[in-house]
Amino acid sequence: MASILINLLIAAFMGTVLIGLQRKVMARVQMRPGPPIIQYVLHTLKFYLKETSFPKTAAMPFYIAIASTLCAIWVTGIIMGPVTQGSLLLIFGIYAMHKIVEHNAGSSSGSPYGKLSCVRAVFSASAELPLFALLIVVYLQTHTMIISDIITYQSINGPLIFSIPLAGIMFFVLLITKSHYSLFSITKGKDIISGYETEHFGVMRGYLMFSESISWYMLLWIYLTVFFGPLSLISYFMGMIVISVIIAIINAISPILNPNHSVMFQITCAFIGIFGSIILMII
């Protein structure tokens, strides 16, 4: 239990600092000072202490339960990942649940912006295609779905990024999808205010932000573990910082794509990734 709590706190704090670092790098690319690196930490705390009230048009108790679900699935992610190094398939299940939470947080609110975002979240489930395809490719290469066995495989045969590079690129596109202010962030585009989070304000918003920072850390952790083999904790932190900076630079110089284009881009990447990897494996 202590291990779960410590890993949860590491994930929460490291995730918030990385998201803040992303915003800082994006601002610097756009030649402005940007917010302090710990801005996301301060925002999460600030929202946590603000008053929330429950709108009459919200679907209760679903409205509260969905925010708790997001936290619960990412606690499960922490257990599946750094603590027990369990099955990658369960991690895929957690991402599917995350998509469901995005959808239901929007539909449980009474706000039309929330409902629009709910629809877009279903639309952008195409982002889960690269993840699913990735699991197939990793399985075909390593013949296992258990993270600890994948680490053992990599300590013998070298990092997977060199043996299945297209899958690595595909997962990188997925990382961009899940990042803040990305070109695929149609569920949180400013044209729909805050998307599915619009009617979750105050404590609920702080709660959602806390869970999202854990999800960002976990996504980077999975990428580094599955593709770069056995790493020490310091290498994890360095790798996470480097990936966050690269993603921030990409996000800073690209506009948010229109929902149709966003979905088509992700499906194309999944297509190239899976069929390219299988062809490379056969050759």
Binding site: C71, I79, V203
Partner: protein
Amino acid sequence: MDKLKLFSYIGLIISIIGIGYALIFNLPAWIVYTISIFLIPVFLLTIGLIVMAKPIKDEEEERVFEPFIGY
């Protein structure tokens, strides 16, 4: 004390007892995972609902109990 505060306090006490129990005693793995998956979110939620800011008494009526304006 209104309903929200009451349920928050009950939830907080249950989650603290559960998490403390899992921390102190050596339990089978699946019990520890179940406790952490269910009670850690409840803990975070109830702490938030208890420490959140409170409205000024006069404004409470119009800020918290909003009129339904329909969409």
